[in-house]
Structure formats: C-alpha cells, structure tokens
Amino acid sequence: MKTLRIGSGAGYSGDRIEPAVELASRGDLDYLVFECLAERTIALAQQVRISDPQGGYDPLLSERMRRVLPFVGRRDDQRRLRVITNMGAANPVSAAIEVRRIADELGLHLNVVAAVGDDVLQVLQPELMLDNGQTLGSLGERLISANAYLGVDAILEALHADADVVITGRVADPSLFLAPQMFEFDWAAHDWQRLGRGTLVGHLLECAGQVSGGYFADPGFKDVDDLARLGFPLAEINADGEAVITKVAGSGGRVSRATCTEQLIYEVHDPAAYLTPDVTADFSHVSFVEEGLDRVRALGADGRARPEQLKVSVGYLDGWIGEGQMSYGGPGAVARAQLARDIVLKRLELMGVNMQEVRAELIGMDSLHGPRSNVEPWEVRLRVAARCEARSDAVRVGNEVETLYTNGPSGGGGASKSVRQVVAVASLLLARSAVNPRIEA
C-alpha cells in the first residue's frame, strides 16, 4: 500500500527556513506544507494590500520559495514534491505571480495555482453579529478584513489541476494537510473517520517544530538535544489515514509520545469535537505508540459530520497601544520601580491622557501571572501599557515612562517606548452558500 509523506515547513510566518530546506532536500516528501497565518495576520496583510495592491502576502514567501522550489516538481527516480501554503495571506493571486517569477528566474517549469474565495468582506451584511456583541455595521470605517476559514475544496481543485505549488489565503490549518491526503487516497468528502484521522495528522504537523521537540524543553525534566538544529516533522500516512510522525534522521529535536501529546491538545477545547470546515474531528480516544527513535504512531482519531457554518475572522482597527519600560536594579530596586509606577500613573492622570485601559507591572515580579512570590529579585523592569482611542494619547504613555530618567526615582535605566495600532480580531459564523472557494490559475 502506498505511503504518503507530508512534511511541515513552517509553524508560523516568521519561522526558521533551514528546517524546511532540510525536509525538501532530504525528507523524501510528496508534499511540503507551510502554515503561516495566525489569527490576525490576514488583517495586517490586508492593510499592506490597501497601500500596495500587489502586496499583502507573506513577507518571507519569496525567500522560502527561492530555497525550496529547486526541489519541487517531477524529478527522475524520486517522489514528486509539491508545496501547499497559506502564505498568500490577503493576496494569493499576487503571491502566485511572485512564485511564478521566482520559478522562471530559477529556470523551473512549475504549475503555480492560487486558491481563493476566503475574502468575504463584500458579501457580509452589516447586521451580522460578531462574537464580541457588536454588529459588523457598527465597525464602520474601522473594518479592515473578513476572511472565511475555507476547507479542502479549492486546494483539491488545484491538485486536480496538477498544481506543483498551491497558494491559499485563509484556510483552516489542518485542511492544508488534509487536502493532499484526500487527493492521493481518493477519500470521499463524507468519509468522516478518515477525514478525522487526516485532520489529526494536520493538527499534529501544523505548528511544525512544536511536535518534534520545539517549545518542549524543560531542563532536568524534559531535555531535548540540538534545538539549534531542530528538525521539522513529517508524517508517513497510509490509505486509511493511519500515520507515523517522525523527522529527518540526524536533525535536532525529538519526536516522542510526550511531544505528540502536548501538540495533540494544543489549541483544542473539547477533544471530542475539534471543528474544522471539513469535519468534526474526535481526538478524545487518540493514543500514541513509540515505534523507534523519533517515530511515533498516532492511533484512534475519529470524525463526525462537518459543521454547517463556516467561521469568519473579522479584522478591525481598535485604537492604539502605547507602552514604556524602564529597569531598576540593586538594593531597593523593587521599591524604586513601584514608586516609578505610581509616578507614571499619576502623571497620566494629571495630564488628562485619555485611556480605555491601562496596565502597570514589574517585569520580574508580577507581569505574567500577578504577584506570586515574596522573593525580591536583583532587578526589575517597570512596564506601563495603555490602550487609547487616539494615537496622540498613546504616545504620552511611553513618553511619561521615559521622563523618569530625570524626574523619577534614582537609578532607572534602559528606557524604551513604543506605539502600535491595534488590529483587533472578532469572529462570526456564515452559511457555506455565501462562500465560493475556487482556483485562479
């Protein structure tokens, strides 16, 4: 029986590139998938596209493609490697044009296909209700983007059109991996058990290094070798969707029951109902068996009928966050930092800075989990952050922290300040009939 080999070349937009090249060159892969879209990435990319109609795709697209395309396509005596990625972000069509340009430059003849249809900004009704209780219409001009989480449909169409490279925008992360399994093994769209199994494979692979020893080490408790050369994972899958998770021999990291279990539950709520556009996957009876060094078999995934509606992620502008930081060290550091905090908060009040929410904390004491320990650290760092409607107010936050240099307690150092626009994300549910996934060759 045929074994399909799918590798994971990125777990997020800024991820390392060398492990993807390692997979492309030495992974003996059929597919290399790059998952690069976090919740609000598309909204940010859409802002880029507004100022540059040819832009709005992943900033690392060109570099990644330049490095892996030489291994893509039909090659003698080897598997045919294809690439599937959501690096199209807010502009898959322009991303595909860029990939074709790079392929031409490299002298490669590749079929690059854009899968589109996730952008539903123009079809949404203003009275639709978001999960934060606001209507879409109430966002007015602050609304930036609305993208439906698509499933496998347009990717399958692209593979049937013999694509070497498939570039999508918003697609549910596991669907990027499920589509090639359905295509290669000819699974029906209602074969819920196999779709559930294939979704498990996608879920385990979608964060790349997070299943092969990345984001796992806890020295003395969970040690992992050679994280500087972490190998990204690949799955060996059979026609029933049974899979072994592994990585390229000799790469750093570790694939074990424990790494797979952490990733199994990552970003999952009810393990019996992991919703994707393709299937309601059931991970509640999954188990893992170690079959050798860095080889783990995943068993027991199941599935039920897919959800009726699609989730839509809506991006909108929501004011500005201003922030300032200043460090204090040595005897009395905590008392001086606390005094500095009180001074800044008082100043923001005296100056009438208009803030929706403000937060002041001491990094090293209480910034992550609130106050948890009475031990005084040698050094602490004051951090004040506020969300403001107006940029001019947000600017004042960092400025007031900076003025601690000459106006605050003794011995503050290393001031930093920043202002950023808030691109918030909310979601809503949309009928499938309102969405039209398709390819643009």
């Binding site: 952490e262 509640s284 990094i363 910034s367 992550l368 989990h369 948890r372 918030a424």
Partner: protein, 106 residues
C-alpha cells in the same frame, strides 16, 4: 509535591480563551491529577487574572494520553490582538500552573 515533578504542560490560545494541557509523565500518576486538579482549583489559581464574569473553567479528560485539558475563558483579557498583557497569548500560563502543590497519598 509540586505538579511540576509529575506532569508537563502546554498552553494554547483562541480568541479570549486559553487552554492548558496537564500531562502526567507516568500513567500511574494520572488518577492523582484527576482527583486533585479540579476545574475549580484551576479557576481559583488563576482567579486574579480572569475577566470578571467570564464563563466557568472547563476540564476535559484524555485518559489514553494520561492528560487533562483545562479551558479558561476570559483569561486573555481581550485576546492576543487587544490585550495589554506582556504575554498576550498567555503562553506562560501552563508553566505557572505547574507550581500547584499536590497532596501525596501515604
């Protein structure tokens, strides 16, 4: 005994909600985790961090992988995009939970 010696953890985020896995290193310790690491206890541990009025903490059991999954609505205070928190994803939350003390059976 600290939970850290018996279990490991990873935290994920979706919108305003975190989920924290607690995974027993050894299968024989899993019943102890199920017994003592209740949803109420985890809610209490993070009481100061969650949005007032947030939905209750939920706990799911995954016995085949000797793990618990805690879902904590409202802990990201607006979610990664709006939150003023230094760790807006809440990625460090699971490590904090490993500081919980468990009573060991005699």
């Amino acid at each position: 005994m600290k939970l850290h010696t018996l279990a490991h953890s990873r935290t994920g985020d979706k919108g305003d909600t975190s989920n924290i896995s607690i995974i027993a290193y050894r299968a024989e310790d899993y019943p102890l985790l199920c017994e003592q690491l209740t949803a109420e206890r985890v809610a209490e541990f993070f009481a100061g961090l969650r949005e007032p009025g947030a939905a209750p903490v939920r706990r799911y059991e995954l016995p085949n992988v000797q793990a618990l999954n805690f879902v904590l609505p409202g802990i990201l205070r607006g979610g990664v995009t709006r939150s003023l928190a230094l760790d807006a994803h809440g990625k460090c939350l699971g490590s904090a939970l490993l500081a919980i003390e468990l009573a060991m059976p005699n």
